[in-house]
């Protein structure tokens, strides 16, 4: 197991390294000059050149990349804005803040949104999926399946504003979405996030309903499930112990992907509800051609996805003893 984790982590580092190179090259392939943006309306060629120098953009790209890499690993004191301990992505061109600090500022909102939403959509999605599979062919099954179908065809930018309009602005049932620190005011944290959670989890849950149902139905047709029934184990026991165990594999796989990409920033959700998370940061960094921030957000999101992947693979070994992790 330890070996497996080590090998996968090494692999992840290699992937991140390659990804950073690609990101670097892509950035310099963009037709926009970040210095020109910072320079503003009263830009003189001298100012521009000075800015290029300050930002290090006048150096050859390989050298810039090398500086980026050493800063990331060892930190740097060379920045005019102040010291930058490792992991150092440098200072944002736009806000002049340390990138790592900005990421950490934005992380709690994203984590709150993601984990809270995940709890909702797992409970609702898997619950309805299991019930539908248990009552396969009945009116309950058909209702859940049809409902899931309708909802999964909706999008957050449709459902989000709809929920806002109905639940917040018209009826005032819920508070206007906002992010409050959990440590400061748990009540406000909860009430500010409830609408985003509900909207996010409604859309995700519908996928989990369908997946849980179909994978349970598939498992229930497995021969070993029939054997368990032939041994006299009750339908409920067989359902929960035998079939459920087998259907966990596809569910965990998809959940890992979903969780990883949500932790990297739920761009549309954050925008729809005006939450200060990583997703919005990513959009802003692209908008302002903010190279350090862009690299930071990208690598951070990628790390989240890779991490979730490793966790998923490790989870396989717990679910299925046939999976050997060596």
């Amino acid at each position: 197991m330890l070996r497996f984790l080590l090998r996968r982590s090494l692999g992840a580092v290699v992937i991140l390294f390659l990804l950073s190179i690609v990101a670097f090259l892509l950035f310099f392939g963009m037709p926009r000059d970040p210095a020109l943006l910072m320079c503003g309306k009263t830009c003189t060629p001298a100012n521009l050149e000075n800015l290029h120098h300050v930002l290090g953009l006048d150096k050859p790209i390989p050298e810039q990349y090398w500086i980026f890499l050493t800063n990331l690993v060892m930190g740097s004191d060379d920045f005019a804005q102040g010291p930058c301990p490792a992991p150092c992505f440098g200072y944002s061109y736009h806000s002049n803040e340390q990138v790592w600090g900005t990421l950490m500022d934005r992380l709690p909102a994203t984590v709150s949104l993601t984990l809270g939403g995940a709890v909702f959509f797992l409970v609702i999605g898997l619950g309805t999926g299991l019930i539908a599979a248990w009552k396969r062919g009945t009116i309950v099954d058909k209702t859940f399946t049809a409902g899931a179908m309708v909802i999964s065809s909706m999008q957050i930018y449709f459902l989000g504003p709809l929920a806002l309009a109905i639940l917040v602005y018209q009826t005032h049932v819920f508070d206007k979405p906002a992010y409050n620190e959990f440590t400061e005011n748990p009540g406000a944290w909860f009430s500010g996030l409830i609408i985003p959670w509900v909207v996010l989890s409604t859309i995700f849950a519908s996928q989990y309903t369908r997946m849980a149902r179909s994978s349970m139905i598939e498992q229930l047709q497995e021969e070993h499930v029939r054997t368990a029934r032939a041994k006299g184990m009750s339908r409920r026991y067989v359902f929960l112990r035998y079939a459920w165990r087998g259907s966990l594999i596809p569910i965990v796989t998809i959940f890992g992907i979903d969780l990883g990409s949500l932790l990297g920033g739920a761009i549309i959700t954050e925008y729809t509800f005006g939450l200060p998370g990583l997703g919005r940061l990513a959009v802003e960094s692209v908008f302002f051609s903010d190279l350090p921030l862009l690299l930071g957000v990208m690598l951070f999101s990628a790390t989240m996805i890779l991490l979730c992947n490793i966790v998923v693979d490790a989870a396989y070994a717990f679910i299925d003893p046939r999976v050997r992790l060596a």
């Binding site: 070996r3 080590l6 090998r7 090494l10 060596a326």
Partner: protein
């Protein structure tokens, strides 16, 4: 299946080697196929070898039906795939009509490829479901650019008739046929290029008993009337006995006994062959003894213990020794060569240091190596 065969016009021999029956057609020498096992940390590397086929010698003569029999994991299917060049051998040589084709390239194989064909086990997955029967059967002709006299379609209709299908079914799809009929399509495809050798890998084991016999008879008809040599690979000893003139028995990647059919089935020498034959359930139809009062002798009863060991780390020396009741120290250290031992008929070779008596009749005492069986039978007796 009473219709006469439509015999193809004799084709010019590709080489000078004669096609007279009895001449060696396919000669396999010291053939080896190892599959690497990957593992290790931090860099995955080969940590072992599955010794699927480990140095086997075989000769199939022109027009002969040669049976290759053994249990799962003995390497019989791998051997078939090596001969048809679906797999690349690790070592040894395969020569066809005197020409070494062991490492022949695709281009070098072109003239030979049409002469060696394969029939697969699963009549459901070995046919492309999106192609019509006509397209499937004419496929080999198309690939090899062969335009028979009267056109491909005419030839395909002939072939369908040979294998006992209605030529009118030319435009149907595989799913419209039953399992037995699909296997017939597979046979027709194999015959399309007028092959000299057909490798049939478990061609009937997926079929129901009553259908099995239809396909066995078809293959036999093809073999005898068209003079095609067969390498017939199967686990069913009775089917192999019925089909083959000569038989090789494989165990864990080795040929342990080979000889003409009657020798192997009535005068086997290798303990494994004895065990294998004794394990086949017997059906005595029409009463215990024949109508004319002739006693049918009881067959011996041998019950081995456990399953075949893993081909990743096969036993040293004789590979059967771990399950053999005659094994001695010598068997662990020295691999028995495949030789003609005294008392064997000509061409009957056995790889064993301590061969059995050449009979399969019941012994004074059963050989029961399985400890659970032995214990239960002890209880029952006392």
């Amino acid at each position: 299946m009473t219709e006469d065969l439509v015999l193809p016009a004799p084709r010019e021999a590709a080489t000078d080697v004669t096609d007279a029956p009895g001449e060696p057609l396919l000669v396999v020498e010291k053939l080896v196929k190892h599959f690497p096992v990957k593992g290790g940390f931090p860099i995955r590397r080969t940590v072992g070898q599955v010794q699927a086929v480990d140095g086997i010698d075989l000769t199939v003569h022109v027009g002969e039906s040669f049976g290759l029999v053994g249990e799962s994991g003995c390497g019989k299917s791998t051997t078939g795939r090596l001969i048809t060049k679906l797999l690349e051998p690790t070592g040894g040589s395969i020569s066809y009509r005197g020409k070494d084709i062991t490492h022949a390239t695709r281009r070098q194989l072109t003239p030979i490829r049409s002469e060696i064909q394969m029939i697969f086990q699963d009549p459901y997955s070995s046919l492309n479901p999106r192609q019509t029967v006509g397209k499937i059967v004419s496929g080999p002709m198309e690939i090899n650019g062969i335009e028979p006299e009267g056109g491909r379609e005419k030839r395909v209709r002939e072939l369908l008739e040979i294998v006992g299908l209605n030529p009118e079914h030319y435009n149907r799809f595989p799913h419209e046929f039953s399992g037995g009929q699909r296997q017939r399509i597979g046979v027709a495809r194999a015959l399309a290029l007028e092959p000299k050798l057909i490798v049939a890998d478990e061609p009937v084991s997926a079929l129901d008993v009553s259908i099995q016999a239809q396909v066995v008879n078809l293959l036999q008809k093809v073999q005898q009337e068209l003079g095609i040599a067969f390498l017939f690979i199967a686990h069913d000893l009775a089917v192999v006995r019925h089909f083959s003139q000569r038989v090789a028995v494989m165990y864990l990647g080795k040929v342990i006994e080979v000889g003409d059919r009657d020798s192997i089935y009535t005068r086997p020498r290798h303990p494994y062959t004895h065990a294998l034959l004794s394990a086949v359930p017997e059906v005595k139809v029409g009463g215990e003894d024949g109508e004319d009062g002739e006693e049918v002798p009881q067959r011996e009863r041998i019950r081995l213990a456990g399953d075949v060991p893993s081909p990743i780390s096969p036993p040293s020396g004789c590979r059967f020794r771990t399950r053999c009741w005659k094994a001695q120290d010598k068997c662990a250290t020295e691999e028995p060569p495949l030789i003609q031992i005294s008392g064997n008929h000509a061409g009957h070779l056995t790889a064993c240091h301590f061969p059995e008596e050449p009979t399969i009749e019941a012994r004074d005492e059963d050989i029961v190596l399985d400890p659970a069986l032995a214990a239960l039978e002890m209880d029952a007796e006392s």
